[in-house]
């Protein structure tokens, strides 16, 4: 079985304590809200309480008159109201979601900021908006964005007016769908739904922005997931050149895709206040503001139809996947590229027709959240597969074994899987080690109970590693040797809590041959290194680290040359151990330390650093058919969940989750396991409790008293199973893991609930009412 541990590396495949842990454990680590600079004042935002309204008048005079209030800005006071990425810094006169910012203030203290916000008077004229996917697509729905388009023959059409975000439309056309269905012995059609979900990182968004002549114009210290992306907002808001706007990432208290838009807007707003007051400005979102303006996981409506032969081979697959994009959006067009590519699951299906698009509604925007559409899609597809198995009377594991993608098969985009693909082995391993069939039998004895029933389910999935066809996957790294024999590594990708610093340290050590303890990872400073794209898409290790690998190998070669010169031999006769170069085969007398080598290079004027830029491979899909090579490679996952459902209350107790992942090469088992365990907890929330309820655009959860995700008491028994395989696409053969770790867990739990209750789950989360009745009663219904 291809389990972890058979690969031969010096530093990879080995446990290493995280390089940033000590500072975090002792409280020394500084996060953005911990930054304090001389002369600093505070900023705040006034947010509207309507989902769709026209601003008739804003009167800021009373706020401005308060002593200690230094600036009150509205649309008319700033160079531009709308950011480069669609989202508004300040409302342009129409507010389109609850929480849209209509004014910003700066004052001496946070108390004065609050006083000033309260003193601003705004008169609104409320409008009727659209709030749901169904509402946005209604025939006579109001059009809430000028760029929205309508449907023609059921498909988005540029010449029609409506609420569809056209850039986010991706069709997949493979084979001949009509022929496929005409040859099918069995056809089933089902619909599924998922809600808004909040990232719930424990650190709220924060920044300090100040004038900084050393940097050019301004420097921002920010809780930015993607500092270069944040720089775009900073420069854009104050209309300054990028090379004079510097963003420094502080230690980041979790992000999961969330600290992008709101952090960018906040930095832009703070910069506007800095320019207006000439003082450094700190802004920290309250948790309520974070709920109101940070992106959410996209709600999706799915409709799938599948055609199978009588022996269980899927030969036709049709689908519509519609995402709720919210009022402003610059994410759904990328997210839906991925959603479309994965719209037929991890299955080998000859005839596919799917359409994926987003709609504008008067809600908070949806964005990136760990998975980037996959948790929703896998939930829907895997429930559908189990419904098919049940209706056809075939075993759900057999159905998967029969259809799962294997080496040599074609994906939905007709990409041929050339690398080793261990899907069948993974399914078999997970079935055996979880004793799936024994437990299924045992649990079925509880299925008549009126009190507690147990259920088990297995789901399988895959995920394109890195950006793939979404956008070019390039990046650069700088590796510098210093005269005392220590190493600095620097890249444009960021530590977001996932362990990137540690993984990059191991990758650099592997390349140079030195130990990990002499390497220091420089935090991201946009003035210190070129933009390497975003730390998203679980690309940090698999693709982003390619340049780190190459730069460190090249630096290792240079160092070895100097060592060989000092040892009076050829470079290929020299190796390094414990930071000492030695002649291979010598008895250890001929040695020279890394420090001496570095020192010699410095004083002989030799290069001390290597910068490597790694260019993307040749990938791309045809926009009309969705056909083409979509990703450099794919990660595979098989997850088994076991639950107990209280049939009186509907309470779902998740007993155990066993999560198996093909990671290609496991860089660090500690961080990989940490990702898997954390992914299980987040997937449990997605499956069972997490939903930001919205009622006509009003968020009904704005803090952790009503938005519930798992505590230490709630989490199940967890089993992490790490598979490896031979696949040369990623850095040292590594594949994505951050998102795979969570994407299938909610699906597995929902399927286990369906197994326990006998009622299919078609909408998440499996909260109390839905679990028992298959629908939600929380909006105005009654529980009998």
């Amino acid at each position: 079985m291809p389990l972890m541990g058979t690969k031969n590396y010096r530093h990879l495949n080995k446990r290493l304590n995280r390089v940033d842990s000590a500072d975090k454990i002792t409280g020394r680590a500084l996060y953005a809200a911990d930054v304090k600079v001389p002369g600093m004042i505070f900023g705040g935002s006034l947010r509207c309480k309507y989902a769709y309204a026209i601003i008739v008048e804003i009167d800021t005079s009373k706020a401005k008159a308060i002593p200690g209030v230094y600036a009150v800005l509205t649309a008319k006071d700033v160079p531009k109201t709308q950011s480069w990425a669609d989202y508004p810094y300040l409302s342009d006169g129409t507010v389109r979601f609850v929480g849209e910012t209509v004014a910003i203030v700066a004052a001496e203290t946070t108390d004065l900021v609050e006083d000033a916000l309260k003193a601003i008077e705004v008169e609104y004229e409320e409008l009727d908006g659209v709030y749901t996917i169904e509402g946005a697509l209604e025939k006579n729905a109001v059009q809430i964005r000028e760029k929205g388009v309508g449907l023609k023959d059921g498909l988005p059409d540029k010449d029609k007016k409506g609420n569809i975000f056209y850039d986010s439309y991706y069709p997949i056309r493979k084979g001949d769908i009509e022929k496929g269905f005409s040859e099918a012995d069995f056809i089933l059609e089902r619909e599924y739904k998922t809600p808004f979900v909040e990232h719930s990182y424990i650190e709220r968004e924060a920044c300090v922005v100040m004038k900084d002549p050393d940097a050019g114009i301004v420097t921002a210290y920010a809780s930015a997931q993607n500092p270069f992306f944040t720089r775009r907002y900073l420069a854009d808001a104050i209309q300054a050149p990028f090379n004079k706007c510097r963003v420094v990432q502080k230690m980041l208290g979790g992000s999961f895709g969330g600290k992008e838009e709101l952090v960018g807007l906040m930095v832009g707003r703070a910069a506007l206040l800095v320019m207006a007051t000439d003082r450094p400005v700190k802004m920290v979102a309250t948790r309520e503001e974070s709920f109101m303006e940070s992106a959410k996981r996209h709600p999706f409506n799915f409709k799938y139809k599948a055609g199978l032969t009588k022996d269980g081979k899927i030969i036709a697959w049709e689908g519509t996947q519609i995402a709720n994009a919210g009022a402003y959006n610059n994410q759904t067009q990328y997210l839906n590229c991925r959603a479309a590519i994965h719209s037929a699951g991890v299955y080998n299906i000859p005839n596919i027709k799917t359409d994926t698009y987003g709609v504008f509604t008067n809600n908070i925007h949806s964005g990136a959240m760990r998975g980037y559409s996959s948790p929703q899609i896998i939930f829907a597809q895997e429930q559908f597969l189990n419904e098919i198995a049940k209706e056809m009377g075939i075993d759900e594991i057999d159905l998967r074994r029969k259809n799962i993608l294997k080496q040599g098969d074609l994906t939905a985009t007709s990409q041929k899987l050339t690398a080793e693909t261990i899907t069948l082995e993974m399914i078999d391993h997970m079935v055996n080690t979880t004793e799936y069939y024994r437990k299924k039998e045992e649990y079925s004895n509880t299925h008549k109970s009126k009190e507690k029933r147990k259920g088990i389910a297995l789901v399988s999935c895959y995920r394109g590693s890195g950006y793939g066809a979404e956008t070019p996957d390039a990046g650069g790294s700088l590796v510098t040797a210093i005269e005392d024999g220590t190493i600095l590594i620097n890249t444009g990708l960021a530590e977001n809590g996932q362990g990137l610093k540690t993984a990059y340290t191991q990758i650099a050590a592997e390349g140079i041959g030195c130990t990990t303890d002499i390497i220091n990872f420089v935090g991201v400073d946009t003035h210190s290194i070129p933009d390497s794209g975003m730390t998203v898409a679980s690309r940090g290790t698999v693709m982003g680290a390619q340049s780190m690998r190459k730069a460190s190998i090249d630096l290792g070669t240079l160092l070895r040359e100097t060592a060989a010169m000092l040892l009076k031999t050829d470079p290929d006769k020299v190796d390094i151990d414990n930071n000492e170069f030695y002649i291979i085969g010598s008895d250890g007398k001929n040695k020279v330390s890394l420090a001496d080598v570095c020192n010699t290079r410095l004083w002989t004027g030799k290069a001390m650093a290597v910068y490597n830029w790694s260019e993307p491979g040749d990938l791309g899909i045809d926009h009309h058919t969705g056909q083409g090579d979509a990703f450099p490679t794919y990660s595979y996952g098989v997850v088994v969940a076991e639950v107990e459902v209280d049939m009186e209350t509907g309470f779902v107790d998740v007993l155990k989750v066993s999560s198996g992942h093909d990671v290609g090469t496991c860089v660090n088992p500690d961080t990989v396991e940490g990702q898997i365990y954390g992914g299980i907890a987040m997937g449990q929330g997605f499956g069972v409790t997490e939903e930001v309820p919205v009622n006509k655009g009003q968020l009904e959860s704005k803090n952790f008293d009503s938005y519930i995700f798992p505590t230490s008491i709630d989490v199940p028994e967890m089993e992490a199973v790490i598979f490896e395989c031979d696949d040369s696409a990623g850095t040292y053969g590594a594949k994505s893991l951050g998102e795979p770790a969570t994407e299938a867990v909610g699906a597995a739990i929902a399927a286990a609930v369906a197994n326990a209750t006998g009622v299919p789950v078609r909408e998440l989360p499996c909260n109390l009412e839905r679990t028992l009745l298959g629908k939600s009663l929380s909006k105005g219904g009654m529980i009998k």
Partner: protein
């Protein structure tokens, strides 16, 4: 409003300052004294990022008025290290067991674990889970944290 003179002991040092009567202990610790290891996550007593020990009791400092800490003996994450500057066994175990990811919950988690081990040298899984149930973590799934507390308990017995 009249300011209040606040005198307390934080991490074994006597400190004093002037505060507004409505100031939260969390803000006073962070802003007046620079104990920024005490984090704010929710501000409503739900997440535990602001956990400290006050007069031997574990509290959420966002829910305590600074004025209530008059004369109190307070321990924050900054005071958990041994007097020689080395890490406390709880901290060592968090490092060794991979119990830290983004680290934002970590100060509160360490304080809760430290507090538990002061009262119970040999906690069961369930007792550990209960002790840290007021500390939300979005990254780790808690498993490596629970392992770390067991390891710390073992090491402290040695």
């Amino acid at each position: 409003m009249n300011k209040i003179k606040l005198v307390m002991t934080v991490n074994k040092k006597n400190v004093e300052t002037e505060i507004e009567p409505y100031a939260r202990l969390l803000d006073v610790l962070r802003d007046k004294f620079g104990f920024t290891g005490v984090k704010e996550g929710c501000g409503i007593g739900e997440c535990g990022a602001c956990t400290i020990i006050m007069n031997g009791k574990k509290v959420n400092s966002c829910m305590v008025l600074a004025a209530q800490a008059q004369g109190a003996d307070i321990l924050t994450i900054e005071g958990v290290e041994n007097s020689d500057g080395s890490m406390h066994p709880v901290q060592e175990a968090f490092l060794e067991k991979g119990a830290v990811q983004c680290g934002f919950c970590t100060p509160g988690m360490v304080i809760s674990s430290y507090h538990l081990l002061n009262e119970n040298q040999d906690p069961t899984d369930q007792e550990i889970k209960e002790a840290i149930s007021g500390n939300l973590c979005r990254c780790t799934g808690y498993k490596q944290i629970i392992n770390a507390v067991h390891m710390a308990a073992d090491n402290m017995k040695k």
